[in-house]
Symmetry: C2
Subunit: 346 residues, 2 copies
Amino acid sequence: MLVGDGHLSEFRAVDWRDGKVILLDQTRLPHEESYLEINDWREVAEAIRSMRVRGAPAIGIAAAYAMALAAADSRDVFAAADELAGTRPTAVNLFWAIERMKRAASEAEPGQLAQRLLQEANAIAAEQDAADHTIGELGAELLPDDCRVLTHCNAGGLATYSFGTALGVIKAAHRQGKQLFVWVDETRPLLQGARLTAWELEREGVPMALITDNMAGHLISTGQVDAVITGADRIAANGDTANKIGTYGLAVLANRHRIPFYIAAPLSTVDLSIPDGRSIPIEEREPDEVKSLGGKQITGDKVAARNFAFDVTPAELISAIISEKGIIRQPLEAGMRKLAMEDDGR
Amino acid sequence: MLVGDGHLSEFRAVDWRDGKVILLDQTRLPHEESYLEINDWREVAEAIRSMRVRGAPAIGIAAAYAMALAAADSRDVFAAADELAGTRPTAVNLFWAIERMKRAASEAEPGQLAQRLLQEANAIAAEQDAADHTIGELGAELLPDDCRVLTHCNAGGLATYSFGTALGVIKAAHRQGKQLFVWVDETRPLLQGARLTAWELEREGVPMALITDNMAGHLISTGQVDAVITGADRIAANGDTANKIGTYGLAVLANRHRIPFYIAAPLSTVDLSIPDGRSIPIEEREPDEVKSLGGKQITGDKVAARNFAFDVTPAELISAIISEKGIIRQPLEAGMRKLAMEDDGR
């Protein structure tokens, strides 16, 4: 793959080449680094549903490129938009990107639709990449020189485009020469920590250790964690934040032990249309993801299981949100409205 | 297997038959219900180390029967005791049972050692079985008629002898006709919840759903859990309690959302010789248990992992300890000393 700023460790989770969407198949990592070349927008929708591409910003970019594919193939881009919007319910970046692409489609000159949509999708991707690097630089300032950070799920380049949000902060601090050590939650059921975050940090050369999700309490209570950083799938107007299941428990532990809990996310993750976390739809996925691990069934056939994919962390437990427009501190609601207004006015 | 009180669902995790120790091999559950027949005490030690038998009371009983085997085989029972004590560090029931067996060995009449040690091991097992049922009856009174309970790891008959402590409470309430629903934490890395607790509750016919450990926060914060009950591996004099990794995080969540957090454990789990949880040794096991499952690796080869097997829940977060001598409420320290003294004086 082409490399963003020449750093050896870089990759692209989503890309466009020769009229096709290129997806790094995240279900096959870390054992296999294989790329899907897709020329049918419906296959992109299926890749989002089956989490071959996942992460709030990355599924937004993938959906944008899927609409560009639909336009190139002379399909109804608004019908494609509707189906793409039905793939996953929680991450708002998906709907944000689709709305932006629909606006671009509405405004396109006759005969220019395909070109205009590709241009818009490229812009969304480029803006996300720039946002990641800015989030990384801003967030790195929050980390002391010698710092043990705990992260959950994967808010890396695999979840955004190439650099990452929570992992962008970690990568930026590491590249600045700070002594970082990362505790990587494995993140059941789909093991995004064990499979994806460990893979990204290993490429980057950041010292780390993998743990099971239930070990965080022991590490935090025995003084072995200095900060927790995660990404976000949707941030309500009051700062309540939906993120991968398990995030809430980490925020509660960080609060109890007075260590900072940071959310790193682009402003496209903020949803000012909903007042608080109770209005965020929480995806529930197939029980089989819980009943098996790495493709192997771990419980009895008849055992019932539930599979909530996200939880909501109330604003009061969030020390700061690291966005590409600045660090939003408490009270989060006022800070977000200010930045969102500046963003609209640019 | 012989059945304790004629209930169809019963089994024995540890037993003695025809001069052999019989262990239900817990590493093969739920897919296979197979029993190890062991006539060498060193193989019992290895079965404890490799967690073919696990759970604080059950490893105490297994070690006791191992010493009975050593005596029957004319081996040095005190040397066997030393090696058995080195198998696992955290659960105090192991050391408690070994000390009790050493005392019995010291007091045995000449020529009666083997018989005396078998008698003592049988007594430890029988007392545990009685304790489980008493704990079940006492604990069931704490659960309302319509109750959603969350449990972690396996504090069932597989962890004790046949009935269980935390699961004993659940089984007793269910047999009384209470409407119970159990959320079963899968309990990574070795999945005692998914493999063992789900198996026990299914045999018992208790409605339940398996979840990943990181889903508890979502369920508790959205009002879907009425009580949390776990077992214990060691309870310090002040009530601080070591139990399976992840227990502490549940206690913190229960406390934040004002639902009761109960520990169900026999008095043999109480260690009055240590003042608080900081003195409880926390076992760290092989990283491969985190990096793989059933021989299948879930992360990159070179990824480092840590594997803390237990954590400590401070006394202040424990609503009550359910023991076979009564329910110990806050302040736990005074209540435990009183019951322990009564126990010694019987």
